[in-house]
């Protein structure tokens, strides 16, 4: 197997884990904090973003040889905006309640740095299938990040998970968790957890005398 061929599985996992948009790259933060007041909102946002990611990267990859270098960013943005408009209408058709809950952040998917970043860094140089696989991985990684935040905030701030009450009516919810400050705190806490874990992993390697790093 040649050194430069990346397997499809690796392409996929790269977006989910190693380059997780929420916890590693810390990109596309606006919807992450705004929408994650409940598990179901987080999930819907993740799915919507993943859809736009996959479709945009797919189309951009298909057209990559044709798009002129000078106007590529503008073109990417137009293509992304197209799919966001599609998602916008589809969500309205599926559930108006969900549409109201997600609010303006559906349309703000257009300026989610992840999508533009992926298009520029990856989809513009890769054939459609690997590009879309990677995009799917990123989308799932993003959804996982959203869910991690949404579920914690929902459990602490409302005592429910996906609408199912967990602690009964006597539970005094930690309301700040579903308010803006809570979003910042919970994400900061998650990043802290990841940093601590990363630190421990590195210490283990150093203790084992370095050796080959299997990342």
């Amino acid at each position: 197997m040649s050194q430069t061929t990346v397997s499809t599985w690796e392409e996929f996992m790269e977006g989910v884990w190693r380059q997780n948009p929420v916890f590693v790259m810390v990109l596309g933060m606006c919807p992450v904090l705004a929408v994650t007041v409940s598990g179901i909102n987080a999930l819907s946002m993740g799915v919507a973003t993943a859809f736009v990611l996959v479709c945009s990267c797919g189309l951009i990859s298909l057209l990559r040889k044709m798009i002129p270098k000078e106007v590529r960013i503008a073109t990417y943005i137009v293509i992304i905006a197209t799919f966001v408009t599609v998602v916008d209408y589809v969500i309205q058709a599926v559930s108006l309640a969900l549409y109201d809950a997600l609010g303006a952040f559906i349309q703000l998917i257009v300026v989610n740095c992840i999508i533009l970043g992926r298009a520029e860094a990856h989809a513009s140089k890769t054939p459609p299938l690997p590009a879309m696989t990677n995009a799917l991985g990123m989308g799932i990684g993003f959804t996982i990040g959203l869910l991690a935040l949404g579920c914690v905030r929902e459990i602490l701030g409302a005592g429910t998970l996906f609408g199912v009450s967990l602690f009964g009516t006597g539970f005094q919810p930690w309301v700040v968790m579903v308010l803006p400050p809570g979003g910042f705190f919970v994400l900061g806490a998650w990043l802290l957890v990841f940093a601590a874990w990363e630190r421990r992993k590195q210490r283990k390697f150093a203790a084992q005398g370095g050796g080959v790093q299997h990342v």
Binding site: M66, P68, Q92, V175, L179
Partner: protein
């Protein structure tokens, strides 16, 4: 120095750029229009159901709805399919019971709450000149505090609220007052600790009622029977 006048070897000629951009614009345009057309009927249906559900909630006796615009010049006009609100007009819903008699009028109001706007639908009884109740259409108020407006018994006991049109405005402005200081039937007693959201409800009702109810007064006879 010939560099200044030398064209970069890999610069795309203008025609190629225009051709590609045109192609991409066409593809994107097609995709958008396809999505819009494909979802149009489903979206309209969803909106219609949402409106119906909201109006039936505040006007329980209603079995069917007719949508109207109350225009700035005082005339009423039925709302056409997908028609936008004309400048200065107020949209309202006339709810009719099974017998085709007017059960109540419902209208939307909005005002700034604690976070973002609170949108409500309130119902007005034209015979008794009272706002009989309201339901929340959209709100991002603080859970456990602002969202108590829908469940707090004392707050809900504020209704029915007196709302009598008098000339070009209401006889008395609908106002939210501090918890425990309500003295008149057109005042709303705020929820202690949720004053801002309570005030938003009062302002939302008042703003719309001030504009709408005086325009309705001369047309009550023609609204009584379902057209």
């Amino acid at each position: 120095m010939s560099d200044a006048t030398q064209i970069l070897p890999d610069m795309t000629p203008a025609t190629a750029m225009i051709r590609t951009l045109g192609l991409i614009a066409a593809i994107c345009g097609l995709i958008i229009v396809a999505a819009y057309q494909g979802t149009y009927s489903a979206v309209q249906e969803n909106k219609r159901i949402a409106v119906e559900r909201a109006v039936f909630k505040v006007v329980p006796a209603a079995k069917s709805i007719v949508e109207y615009f109350a225009l700035a010049d005082g005339e009423l006009r039925k709302v056409g399919a997908g028609e936008m609100v004309p400048v200065g007009a107020v949209k309202f819903y006339a709810g009719y019971d099974e017998a085709g008699k007017l059960a109540g009028i419902a209208a939307e109001g909005a005002a700034k709450g604690y976070s973002d706007f609170v949108r409500i639908l309130f119902s007005w009884d034209p015979v008794k000149n009272q706002v009989t109740g309201f339901s929340v259409v959209a709100s991002r108020e603080t859970p456990g505090i602002g969202d108590k407006i829908t469940v707090d018994k004392d707050f809900l006991a504020n209704f029915p609220l007196e709302a009598k049109p008098d000339g070009k405005a209401l006889a008395h402005e609908i106002r939210t007052v501090k918890h425990g200081s309500k003295t008149n039937p057109w005042e709303i007693d705020a929820i202690a600790g949720a004053t801002i959201t309570s005030r938003a409800v009062g302002k939302a009702i008042n703003d719309t009622a001030q504009m709408l109810l005086p325009r309705l007064a001369p047309h009550l006879e023609e609204l009584k029977e379902k057209p």
